[in-house]
């Protein structure tokens, strides 16, 4: 393919700068030794990271978010694998409806989901329950898992399973030894993308968390609307770091472009 011209490269550099600048400044400011939000011009300091780890609210919210993301991503995979198999492998009444239902959280604003679940939780007396929060997160991360799984199962040569059957394998064995290993990249990729989305989710969670279940993004949002000090930057830098690790893992396991852009 032909190379890009100089104007194109300048444009591209500006876009890259634009995309990275907010993340870069957050990470830099996190290391400031000052008491105010400022770039670390007089040396680097970890004092604000220390402050985060001493702040019980942030620590608790971090664990909340971690458990929430681990649970909801895992349970979303457990629910999505059979559902994706049903949708891709069978023709049945209501298949189109189920497919649309499972993908619907992608087009329903999280704000709307948030207020809707708040209403439901209030009616059933589940406000502030961690279990119901997990359930709500499962719902919003399942579509990401579904999309990858449907792609993985659709691109699957059924005769491989038939081969296993013909060699005497039972249906359970075929699933365990053949089907599951073959869709494993889709499962793992789906789990990671679900984990990241759950860990980052703010808009819905802000309506349905209680003081004891506040997640990290919600905690940060509420903290940032009241006061702004370098501790916010330190928390942000930690999140950027965690996300970077997850992104690199994701890239290794499944290929980031395949997840974000789709299969080609």
């Amino acid at each position: 393919m032909t190379r890009n011209g100089p104007i194109a490269l300048i444009f591209h550099s500006l876009v890259v700068l634009f995309m990275l600048a907010p993340l870069a400044i957050v990470c830099l400011v996190a290391f400031t030794p000052e008491n105010t939000l400022s770039l670390p011009t007089r040396g680097l300091s970890l004092r604000w990271f220390e402050a985060v780890f001493r702040h019980p609210d942030f620590v608790q919210s971090f664990w909340n978010s971690l458990w929430l993301a681990l649970l909801s991503a895992t349970l979303a995979v457990v629910l999505a694998v059979p559902a994706a198999l049903a949708i891709t492998r069978w023709e049945f009444r209501g298949r189109g409806f189920l497919n649309a239902l499972f993908l619907s959280p992608l087009i329903i604003p999280h704000l709307v989901l948030g207020v809707a679940m708040l209403r439901l939780f209030a009616l059933v007396g589940a406000t502030g329950s961690f279990g119901w929060l997990v359930a709500a997160h499962i719902v919003i991360v399942t579509p990401y898992v579904m999309r990858l799984l449907i792609a993985a199962i659709t691109g699957f040569d059924r005769s491989v399973e038939q081969a296993a059957y013909s060699l005497g394998a039972s249906e359970a064995t075929v699933f365990r030894r053949v089907t599951l290993p073959m869709i494993l990249p889709g499962v793992t990729g789906g789990w990671l993308i679900a984990f990241i989305n759950s860990f980052d989710e703010l808009t819905m969670s802000i309506f349905i968390t209680s003081p004891s279940t506040v997640t990290l993004p919600v905690r940060m949002y509420m903290y940032a609307t009241e006061s702004i000090d370098p501790m916010m930057a330190a928390v942000s830098a930690i999140i950027v770091g965690i996300t970077a690790v997850a992104v690199l893992l994701l890239d290794r396991v499944y290929g980031l472009d395949r997840i974000l852009v789709g299969q080609h």
Partner: protein, 286 residues
């Protein structure tokens, strides 16, 4: 491959757990919220009961709400337009790069998508703050310190940052499907680069641009964290007004009415697009 008739219920059994959860946590709460939006609200006691369309009437006639809806629409439309102007050329430039640069920069452009929106909003508030680097550059250039935060411009810039990946992704996808030989063929017939792009490349990636615009518009119109953190107290948008109604004023029926309108607007745009645009382009471009 169809199953034997005896195994007909299998797909229903397989999808039942997920279907039950989605029924309980998507359909039920949405229906409840729609019903709630028709309840009367007693300011004194906070009780909700009865039936009224007053909330919808208020939203559709009160200039306060109309202004918020109008502002939300304007901000989302501008953010979408800027995303097109930046995202489409960027996707094209990315597609013309060679590996490993292509993968590296695709990651750079798309990965911020996975960083929490709170972090990114916070980053922008520091960049544009009175002591931030942008003001430092402006002062160095002799423009003096400017008030860059808490206005529509800030919100739009940050929205563009958040939404750009959603524009690059579909455009990139349609560029991947494009046969590079087609552009070369146009060039071989004597078309200039610009003509080749306008007449040959652009029409083929138009569906990608349209679907990207739709996602960006939908997400921008319902964005919460960006206007909440960068819009300040006065610059309200639809999402922040719903938040206020629910968590400050505790007028849930009013908030529900706004949320229902937001959802309806979103679904109408999406479904219209699906019907009109996709059908049209599927026929032409397979």
């Amino acid at each position: 491959m169809s199953a034997a008739p005896a195994r007909l219920p299998t797909p229903l059994i397989l999808s039942a757990p997920a279907a039950l959860l989605f029924g309980a946590l998507i359909l039920t709460p949405l229906v409840l919220t729609a019903l709630l939006s028709f309840n009367e609200f007693e300011h004194a006691t906070g009780r909700t009961h009865g039936f009224t369309v007053a909330h919808y009437a208020a939203v559709l006639s009160d200039s306060y709400y109309l202004e918020i809806f109008l502002r939300t629409f304007r901000v989302a439309a501008l953010a979408t337009a800027i995303c097109v102007v930046i995202g489409v050329p960027e996707a094209y430039i990315l597609s013309r790069m060679r590996n490993p640069w292509r993968s590296v920069f695709l990651l750079v452009v798309l990965a911020p998508l996975l960083v929490s929106v709170v972090v990114r909003a916070f980053g922008w508030s520091m960049l544009l703050g009175p002591e931030g680097p942008v003001n430092a550059v402006l002062m160095a250039l002799g423009f003096g310190r400017m008030r860059l935060l808490y206005n529509e411009g800030t919100v739009i810039v940050a929205l563009v940052h958040v939404m750009l990946p959603f524009m690059v992704i579909p455009v990139w996808t349609s560029l991947q499907k494009l046969d590079p030989a087609v552009e070369q063929a146009a060039l071989s017939f004597g078309a200039s680069r610009a003509t080749a792009i306008v007449r040959v490349v652009a029409p083929q990636i138009l569906p990608g641009i349209l679907s990207g615009s739709l996602i960006v518009f939908g997400l921008s119109a319902s964005a919460f964290a960006i206007p909440g953190l960068l819009g300040g107290r006065r610059l309200k948008m639809v999402a922040t007004i719903v938040y206020d109604q629910y968590l400050s004023d505790l007028n849930w029926p009013m908030g529900a009415a706004v949320a229902v309108l937001l959802l309806a607007a979103n679904l109408i745009v999406m479904l219209t697009y699906h019907r009109v645009v996709e059908g049209h382009y599927r026929r032409r471009l397979g």
